[in-house]
Symmetry: C2
Subunit: 337 residues, 2 copies
DNA sequence: CGAAGAGATTTGAACGTTCAACTATGTGTA
DNA sequence: TACACATAGTTGAACGTTCAAATCTCTTCG
């Protein structure tokens, strides 16, 4: 019933347990015939090396942790987290690692404490940090470094934190989007973006927008929301009834864009005839909206895989240089523009 | 730099390492003054018991695994998985357990093999299995039992598998929904539900629908889809142009209902005047649709917590009786009906 | 044919914890 | 005073693995 150990395999193959270990890690040379015999025994006894013992002896954990910051119950429906998390898990698997998840809130000291405890207990050996809209979180990342917890930032530029990061080329995406709207004859392009809680990825989009419209000698106009569907809906009502009524609304994510499209329909405003609306993410529901949503496809899955590989690199060589990777994004034109 | 161990604490407090262990597990009696001294030392040295060593000695893993079955890349956007997974993680945390995730496909032997390997390596000590639309998966659950892997089924009735399960009272939900439609004067109520890949939760909804309409002496009519938004859209086109044109379309999940609502709008069919449309789940986007969606709220988060507690119960006492828990659901009436 | 040296294999110790058995100390009872 | 006995604390072994050093077994060559 209980699982086979090194010694069981050794006894079965008629060698010492160290020889079995040598075969497994091909550490010291083993005679081919012996190796074959040991491998046979491993198969027959269905032996699998005990991870706990390995971790104890090697002082190396093969579990990683994905940290979601600024994660409230309402955010739970967001495909964003789901998508990247699955990508982490699958990529970790292929490298022989397990993946755990933690939800942190920079305003809750207890959540940080229980996280630290888990780390100190050796439950995971490295983290990928996903910060969405939690500006205080960056300080805690600094703390991770002090703890000696290897760390890679996801979808965030590390500024001066001194940690590696993987993100996408949002500047490129915004430029493509603005160019697209301009090419369709739009010249009153408004940006809808969250005001508070500006994660660095949002700051990047904000700055890129201003540069992009300026490059076409167009005025910039910004209206503020907060990432949610409802906020997109409200922002549309607000922006439609001002002197700045735009002919293109560039929403900083797909959810707000979906809200704006609904608001337009409720007001009887025709999209894209009277106003073009675009999103940012290219989640599944961008195809559901009526009209379907023009947006920027962000390769979150590829970014996640890259982040995981970067983290593994840091684990192997703790003095690896910190690096920031930018992945390209692409414009997806649909009916809404 | 390296972490404090039992011996470090013992040396600091001037006792033997076993005494420290006794304090931590209050196993043998320790004099209050000594206990206090040890606790002080633990604090000062920032000691945290090493999980790997604990797991090795106790042959007990404090990591659980959440298994998603029938999980294809396209399903990744589904709030369903996201929601329950977060609930698992949070509940596990409060009990001192970590949570991993695995994606299995009953048609892929490799995925099963690498999963088994992870289990044999002692990466997790129990699983919660989430099967959506993978009829072969049930056989693999049987296999888990043979491996000695404690297991709880989520959102699925175990039929004769002999494992515990947590699900919701879908029969109640369907009855409430049908009664609601009837109370609004509807008498041609059609069900939209997947045909193949019938997870037991879908079978339950299917049977409940037939009983419910029969209880009102109404005819039953069923049209088949496959859980997705697109399938809901197509099903609406199909059902609208038949002799069986319904005045209420009861969709087996929210996504199909959202698709149906879009299709109705595209055809210029007024909802709910000409036809009522209802969903099942009550995910966030049920509020996004135009009109907003009448649906059944399924307490997935509470179900997840319950499933995790059931699993922990099985772990503590491996001879605990298998039990199936049904949680109540509730009708949420919105504009679409 | 004996010694050197490489190759193959074994033994001992350690990782940090818990369990079992053992020793030392104090407390009440005959 | 001597004894039993609970209480407090200690030491030794084990969990399953890897690393370091030690031993054994061949070749190969002077």
């Amino acid at each position: 019933m209980s699982r086979a150990t090194l010694k069981d395999v050794a006894a079965h193959a008629g060698v010492s347990y160290q020889t079995v270990s040598n075969v497994l890690n091909d550490h010291r040379s083993v005679r081919p015939t012996t190796r074959e015999r040991v491998i046979q025994s491993i198969r027959m006894l269905d032996y699998h090396p005990n991870q706990a013992a390995k971790a104890l002896r090697e002082a190396r954990v093969t579990t990683l942790c994905c940290v979601f910051y600024g994660y409230h119950a309402e955010d739970i429906h967001d495909p964003y987290h789901n998508l990247i998390q699955s990508a982490f898990i699958l990529e970790a698997y292929t490298h022989g690692y397990s993946m755990t998840t933690a939800f942190l809130d920079s305003k809750s000291p207890e959540s940080l404490e229980s996280f630290r405890q888990a780390f100190m207990q050796g439950r995971f050996g490295g983290v990928i940090v996903v910060i969405t809209g939690d500006t205080l979180a960056a300080k805690q990342v600094q703390m991770f470094k002090e703890w000696g917890l290897p760390c890679v930032l996801f979808d965030n530029e590390p500024s001066s934190l001194g940690v590696s990061a993987v993100t996408a080329d949002y500047t490129q995406g915004i430029f493509e989007l603005v160019n697209h709207h301009v090419s369709k004859g739009r010249n009153r392009i408004t940006l809808l973006i969250p005001k508070d809680d500006l994660a660095s990825s949002a700051i990047t989009r904000h700055n890129a927008y201003i540069k992009a419209v300026q490059s076409h000698n167009l005025p910039h106009h910004i209206v503020f929301g907060e990432w949610s569907f409802e906020s997109g809906e409200n922002a549309f009502y607000e922006v439609w009834n001002t002197e700045h009524r735009p002919d293109a609304l560039l929403c900083a994510n797909d959810r707000m864009a979906a809200g704006a499209i609904l608001a337009a329909r409720k007001l009887g405003v025709r999209v894209p005839e009277e106003i073009a609306i675009s999103g940012f993410d290219d989640f599944e529901f961008a195809r559901y909206t009526a009209p379907s949503l023009t947006t920027i496809r962000v390769p979150y899955d590829e970014m996640a895989r890259q982040a995981l590989r970067t983290l593994l690199g840091n684990l192997e060589d703790s003095h690896a240089p910190t690096q920031t990777t930018f992945l390209p994004v692409s414009l997806v034109v649909r009916e809404s523009s």
